[in-house]
């Protein structure tokens, strides 16, 4: 067994690492754990807790499964736009919030072309240098967003020759939600991306459509571009579900960070209301909406929570965030799930894997052409995607109600069997191993 000093050292630039209650936290945690298990020392650079408290919030239960050997450097970098204590506002900001915001956004992009985060380049370089000074780094893995982290990886390469890899997840030059290019190759961002990826040992993205985009933009990198899907965590998987007693109303659940278009949510709620009124199987059924919603001043009060709140008389409730350690229990209390998400063919979402792992019927509230549909099409308890077609979603709810009452244990086991291929550890292990191999092959690690 290698001694501590022999273990190679990974600097993992991972904003959103636990305890941040970000949807990416699970992937980041598993990646760091995998490196640790493979015999690496891992130092994570993350924002401090106050920054995440202001953003999407904190979930300390996420720390339960973080390998204790992982070192976490928390950098105190706050987004001033997420400040909600008015006593800390300047008079100029209080009087002209929009003007202040314009100026702040322009200022934030001077060092690096990324709104909000560009100004963090220098302090993050200082933080990475400090880690390197304390213990030399062998490999940098930058997971984005924010994309300013690319400049840190690049700096360590240029200054100290440290090789790096990039876990883009969704990608920078592609706007995955709109399905369009986010910038041109000739733009400042385009030039930075091209230069950074050119020397990267590997580029990870979460689905094939995004990988295709990068293969088209950078054909010379094709061999280094890998699809590393998201997945589900075994600890979040509930026991095999059973139909509720006949006299007990069904409970549908949504869990996520509410990345939903308002028109989609309205369509889902209208379909829900109609199905609930028409179908005896849905009599008195409830729809629980859980998860973080909004950041900064919009936390707990935004368009999404307002739309959800307005459907209260149809058995819809907004219950706020839920701790990761309570997920399995939450899923156990639900009879069917509603999967809602923005975007189309470039978007998968991490939540869909967790949903499939439950073995519960799933109703979709997203575009028909969506990467989640590609996955869900193999899941036997899925009721189909209909975009904002109210009749289609209405039929989905009714079918899901029937499945919730009538699906057998075998049906559910089959569904969970299909989902098993997406266990997060199983997905990330080969990707991490391949990257470690590449790091050794390239001479980054002796």
């Amino acid at each position: 067994m290698a001694t501590l000093s022999e273990r190679p050292h990974l600097l993992y630039l991972a904003f959103g690492f636990p305890p941040a209650a970000k949807s990416s936290a699970y992937r980041l945690r598993e990646t760091a754990n995998q490196f640790c298990a493979a015999g690496w020392d891992v130092t994570v650079i993350n924002l401090n807790d106050e920054a995440w408290r202001r953003d999407f919030g904190l979930d300390f239960s996420l720390m339960d499964e973080v390998d204790e050997r992982i070192q976490i450097q928390k950098v105190r970098l706050l987004r001033p736009d997420q400040e909600t204590d008015i006593r800390r506002f300047s008079k100029e900001r209080a009087l002209d919030p929009a003007g202040w915001s314009r100026e702040y956004l322009a200022r934030s992009q001077r060092d690096f072309p990324e709104r909000h985060f560009g100004a963090w380049k220098r302090p993050l370089i200082r933080a990475a240098e400090a880690v390197h000074e304390a213990r030399p780094i062998d490999l940098v893995l930058a997971t984005c967003p924010p994309y300013v982290l690319l400049s840190i990886a690049r700096h360590m390469f240029d200054t100290h020759g440290v090789r790096y890899a990039v876990d883009y997840r969704d990608g920078w030059s592609i706007d995955v939600v709109e399905g369009t290019e986010a910038f041109t190759p000739q733009s400042r961002s385009g030039k930075i991306e091209a230069a950074t990826l050119e020397d990267a040992l590997a580029l990870w993205v979460v689905n094939e459509p995004i990988a295709d985009h990068y293969r088209q933009w950078y054909p010379e990198l094709t061999e280094r571009i890998h699809v590393v899907r998201n997945g589900f965590d075994l600890a979040s998987q509930p026991p095999i579900p059973h139909p509720p007693p006949d006299e007990q109303p069904l409970v549908f659940g949504y869990l996520g960070t509410a990345r939903i278009y308002a028109n989609m949510l309205r369509a889902v709620l209208e379909s829900w209301g109609r199905a609930r009124a028409d179908d005896p199987l849905l009599a008195n059924a409830r729809f629980e909406f859980r998860g973080h919603s909004g950041s900064g001043a919009n936390r707990a009060s935004n368009g999404i929570t307002d739309i959800v709140g307005s459907a209260r008389d149809q058995g819809v409730t907004y219950g706020g965030p839920v701790a990761k350690r309570d997920l399995a229990a939450l899923y156990s209390s639900w009879d069917a799930l509603i999967f809602m998400h923005v975007g189309g063919r470039y978007v998968t979402s991490g939540k869909v894997y967790e949903y499939m792992a439950t073995g519960l019927p799933i109703v979709s509230g997203h575009a028909t052409e969506h990467d989640a549909s590609v996955l869900l099409s193999g899941y036997p308890l899925w009721t189909g995607a209909y975009g904002t077609d109210i009749d289609g979603i209405y039929r989905s709810f009714r079918l899901a109600a029937r499945l919730a009452r009538q699906a057998t244990t075998d049906d559910r086991l089959t569904a969970r069997g299909y989902a098993a291929q997406f266990e997060r550890g199983g997905i990330l292990r080969p990707a991490v191993q391949a990257l470690i191999y590449e790091a050794h092959r390239s001479g980054a690690v002796a």
Binding site: R53, G296, N298, A300, D306, I307
Partner: protein, 708 residues
Amino acid sequence: MKSVLLIAGWTPRYASLAELVTRLHEYGLQVFLAGMTDVEVSHQGLGLDGLRSLRSVTDEYPPSFHRATKAGPFPREVWLHVQRDRWVAQQIRAAVAVVALDSPAIFSAWKLARRLPLVEAWYGIGSLLEIIEAQQLDRRARMVTRWKRAKLASREVRAATKAHARRTAKQLVIAAAGSPAVKWRASQAAWQRILLSSVLSNSRRVGLAVLVISSLQHAGEAAAAGRLTEDVLTRLGSTRSRADLLGGLVQRSIVLGDMPRNVVGAYAAELRYADELLARGKPEAATGSLLQATRLAFHRALHYDTTESPLAHDPAGFTSPLRSSVALSKVAARRGRRQPARPVPQDRPLRLMLATHGNTNFLGDLRQRLEAREDVELRVISLGDIGQAAPLARDPRRFLEPILAGNPKAEKVVERWVRQHLDWADVLFIDWCTAFARVLTLIDPGTTKVILRLHSFEAFSLWPHTLDLSRIDDLIFVSEHLKDLAVAEVPALLEPGGPSVHVIPNAVNLKRFDKPKADDARFTVGLIGYSAIAKDVLWAFEVLRRIRREDRRYRLLLIGDEPPGHQTEAARRYVEAFSRQLEELESQGAVERYGRTDDVPTALTRVGTILSSSVRESFGVGIVEGAASGAIPVVRNWPFFAHMNHGARTLFPPEWVVDTPQEAANRLLAITADESSWRGQSRHVSAEVIAQWDLSVLAKQFDQLLLE
């Protein structure tokens, strides 16, 4: 009990707030909401412990307040309201936190936080909930502000003492200047000496004079009030002081529910002040003053919440100061268009764009018909479709001030967000002459033909006076009497280089109203739409009482919403009288409220006669719809137009029109005296109005204008 004060610049999200209120109540906190929109109505069902529509009390504030609110950015306007509001001052005493629910409210919370070191100030409700859930509210506030508290203690005490003394003195003066007191002749002489005293500063003289003179007016001492006003005016040298006095008197009368005496003089003085500010190179302040002047001139208490209007009485005289305003002439300057409107295309469908700001009541049938045509490609736009140009229409100071400053920034915004619509459209049809219409015509329309339709309420607003008439090709009025009124106000409408003027009544598909009548319809009098005071439902009650004296079988069916009546004292009084009389008549079975309905034709099957009790109507769609259903019309000779060349008598067959409640009662009794004769007339009336005013007939006039 401790409380949280929420401040909102925009309409707060309802459901999120409901959740918050529940949570805060669980923590034993009271929740109060002060908003710039009418939250007292929109959020009354939320379970809050108190609500304040901040704008509802602004008539109590002096003219200087109104100028200032309209001259600065919106967050400052919110603060000016919050700062002055007595209700807010009361609630803040027990508040442990102030929360700005949106960005325009931040400045108010920030200002309050600086004044109140022990109060938390948050933007958004998320952070507040976190703090409260951690049960840290008091502890944290004290921790943050402990050092400041010690420092501020003596200053706070001094300020509080002074403020208390000022409040007490003011209360004494108000009591002394109250209407019972000033009725006493000896006290009038004393007040005159005080008000004309050379030791008073102009601002104090004005403030005190407004109280005393308005009390005299309220007590019925109009002549004494007039004399005292003249005397005080001689002591006021500056344009601003004169505007303050006269404007203050108008506002005070509105607060007291009286009809103000010298509105024209007051708003003319304010317009002079606006021109003075403009000449001094202060366009921002001039904008505030111009808006204050038009606020006085077109205040709802003068024209909407009352059954008489000084403008309707003398449209040319009432609006004459507007025509001599330099500031307004800059806003309405004719900038022309480089190219004329292009003819209707022959090789493709006509691209027609309908633009309307909210109310689509009069577009429905016309729109349906246009959508069905193959030679028309139709698009409809509203405020939501013009991006960042929308705030200009919502808050007119945003384009008035740049115009007065000679700065093209508003035009640039409109160019960026509206040009694409103009480039697409062959014809732009703007329904309603509002700020939206003015914003759309801020830029050269290119080759697009621009048509504007004016209904009724706009004639009692600023907007017809601000139009750049060189950029409007056709102007449609829905009736001759509205045209008379508007032209009397804005003679430029008919001057060369302006639009072609047309009169085309509202086009409605009347055939769908032709349904069989219920058996007992003969004795049911219908009244469609009675929420506006201008509908004068009390006049209808009077008619009803007179016919019921003859026959108790007659009933009145009210179709539509109730009058809200909370915006001015005049409206409140009217609605109070309405409620009292309604209760009495309902208890006798004489009145039934049908409520609001989208299916008016079905509601009208129960109605045998249709009554128009209004003091003004643009065209009277409700009457025509009622008549099309076979309900025989009885139309009050709308008093706002009775003295003009055109009105109800020229619009409708003269036998329909009456001048007094007794004449109305007589006609109602006559036309319903006999079942077969009533049924005969009913059929005749229905056929007559459908032949004259149905969409199929009137649409030809629209086709001619829009498509040829």
